[in-house]
């Protein structure tokens, strides 16, 4: 655990010292938030049933939050580290190789919280309100064409956005939140397992 904290602290220091790496992860969610609200909010006024009395900004906010946390840069940082040779230095240290991954993820956690907070503040400034505390990307499932609806329902990200959206628009909806958390946990565990497996087997 100590090694994860040490490597995490280093990675967080890197996030702070390289703001230019974080700016794109902030720019993209804000850009889409502004563009989508500007384009679509007139089509869907707050009286639209699926908006539950909120403006369209509330409906779009979870999408921007997804952008904010999904543009993680740990993988890229790890590749750079392999290129620079520092990765080998870590590999010959008497630490679990998985801690290299978890240390990097700590930086993404900090960056994700920071960027999400900013996105949230901007959305509040645009008029979003929280029913509880926060895809089909642009409209609910039932407004999509049958083919698009099938694709959206097969996409696990949809359920994460639906869960987040329920928090913003409806308050606590246990069913949607449970699926949202399950998808996040399953995806997180699955991808982390693959990363750890890859790094455990790493040799040139």
């Amino acid at each position: 655990m100590t090694e994860v904290l040490l490597l995490g602290r280093r990675a967080v220091r890197e996030v702070i010292r390289l703001p230019e790496a974080t700016i794109p992860t902030l720019f993209i969610p804000l850009f889409f938030l502004a563009v989508n609200i500007g384009q679509v909010s007139k089509t869907f006024p707050s009286t639209t049933p699926f908006l539950h009395g909120q403006g369209y900004v509330g409906f779009q906010l979870p999408v921007s939050l997804m952008f904010a946390v999904c543009t993680a840069t740990s993988g890229l940082a790890l590749v750079t580290e392999i290129d620079l040779g520092y990765f080998d230095k870590l590999l010959v240290a008497p630490i679990r190789r998985s801690s290299i991954i978890f240390g990097r993820l700590a930086a993404d956690l900090v960056r994700g919280i920071g960027v999400s907070t900013l996105v949230l503040l901007v959305a509040l400034a645009f008029g979003a309100t929280m029913r509880s505390g926060v895809t089909p990307n642009f409209v609910p499932f039932d407004r999509l064409s049958p083919v698009m609806e099938a694709l959206a329902r097969a996409n696990p990200v949809s359920y994460v956005i639906e869960g987040l959206r329920s928090l913003v628009l409806q308050g606590w909806v246990p069913g949607k939140l449970a699926i949202c958390v399950a998808v996040i946990v399953a995806t997180g565990l699955g991808l982390t397992w693959l990363s750890v497996r890859a790094i455990e087997r790493y040799d040139r």
Partner: protein
């Protein structure tokens, strides 16, 4: 689990082999023994298998066959314990450019279980050892090549390893930085750390190593102390600079010189391997003068490690060129 003792050699490899995908045999059944307290050199050209061997000994690369122990610990059976006992500075300098020198050393201390004030004190001690106290709080991306190399060396020493592996520690450095690294390696070794280094520089192997092995095409071709390897050559080398003179005419003019073992044609020079170099010069000059052949200069040299390399592999290491007898 290995049971290692202080009597175990620093490095011991038997039949160590590494074959890469596509059948490339980088290291072919190497046997190696580095004693405690030694500076052992692994001398060879690029692609000879030096770095691959070091990567296997450092647990970075699994061997295809054979076995290896460092400080008595099997690197395949117990890599975690082996890592605790070794320090490694690889050819690619492993530094994080965003951190300062001090931060990197303190982090490295933490990874080896040294924390808090002990880590801070150890980092300071190492910064002083490698002469980087003034630059300690600058990010490493601002360091020169020599400074980076010294910091990398320091980071390999945080846990006072029993065996230090240095893969081409002075490649790309200017002569002054090279001498600084040599001094530091000697100082580290004097403190009791066994050192195994790879190099392609003859002078480095000659000056720094107690013993060395010459590796070529994945095989160790000769091994011993630099002095003994050179003494085994048993001859001096008289170098005749041709300066435009015809090779065959010059060879013919010199003819069957007393004590001549062989003649090697190099670019722009003849290398004459003779029993007694100084005594041969007068005779060589007389013979060339008799045939009115003008050469650029004649010099006598004691056998070098390059001559050892030449005799062992048929090629020179410096310049890496093929020569023909």
């Amino acid at each position: 689990m290995s049971i290692a003792t202080a009597d175990d050699p620093a490095v011991e490899a038997r039949g160590l082999r590494r074959t890469f995908k596509g059948g490339v045999e980088a290291v072919r059944d190497i046997d190696l023994r580095v004693e405690r307290g030694e500076i052992f050199g692994f001398l060879g050209p690029n692609g000879a298998g030096k770095s691959t061997t070091v990567r296997m000994l450092c647990t970075l690369l699994p061997p295809t066959a054979g076995s290896a122990k460092v400080a008595g610990v099997d690197v395949v059976a117990d890599p975690a314990e082996a890592r605790r006992r070794i320090g490694v500075a690889l050819q690619e300098i492993g530094l994080d450019p965003v951190q300062t020198g001090r931060e990197l050393l303190e982090l490295q201390c933490g990874l080896y279980g040294i924390q808090g004030s002990a880590a801070r004190a150890r980092a300071q001690e190492l910064l002083e050892l490698v002469g980087l106290t003034e630059a300690a709080d600058r990010r490493t991306k601002t360091y020169s090549g020599g400074m980076k190399r010294r910091l990398d060396l320091a980071s390999a020493l945080v846990h006072s390893p029993e065996v230090l592996f240095l893969d081409e520690p002075t490649t790309g450095l200017d002569p002054a930085s090279r001498l600084t690294i040599w001094d530091e390696v000697r100082r580290i070794n004097a403190g009791g750390t066994s050192v195994m280094l790879t190099t392609q520089y003859l002078e480095e192997a000659d000056q720094l190593c107690d013993r060395l092995a010459i590796i070529d095409a994945g095989r160790i071709v000769v091994e011993g102390t630099p002095g003994r390897l050179k003494a085994q050559m048993g001859h001096d080398v008289v170098s005749v600079a041709l300066n435009g003179a015809d090779v065959e005419s010059t060879k013919a003019a010199i003819g069957e010189l007393p004590g001549l073992e062989r003649v090697v044609v190099e670019s722009e020079a003849l290398a004459l391997y003779v029993e007694d170099g100084p005594a041969s010069i007068a005779e060589i000059v007389r013979r060339l003068d008799r045939q009115r052949i003008r050469v650029g200069g004649i010099a006598v040299a004691r056998p070098s490690l390059d001559d050892v390399f030449l005799r062992s592999t048929g090629r020179r290491l410096e310049g890496d060129e093929e020569v023909a007898a």
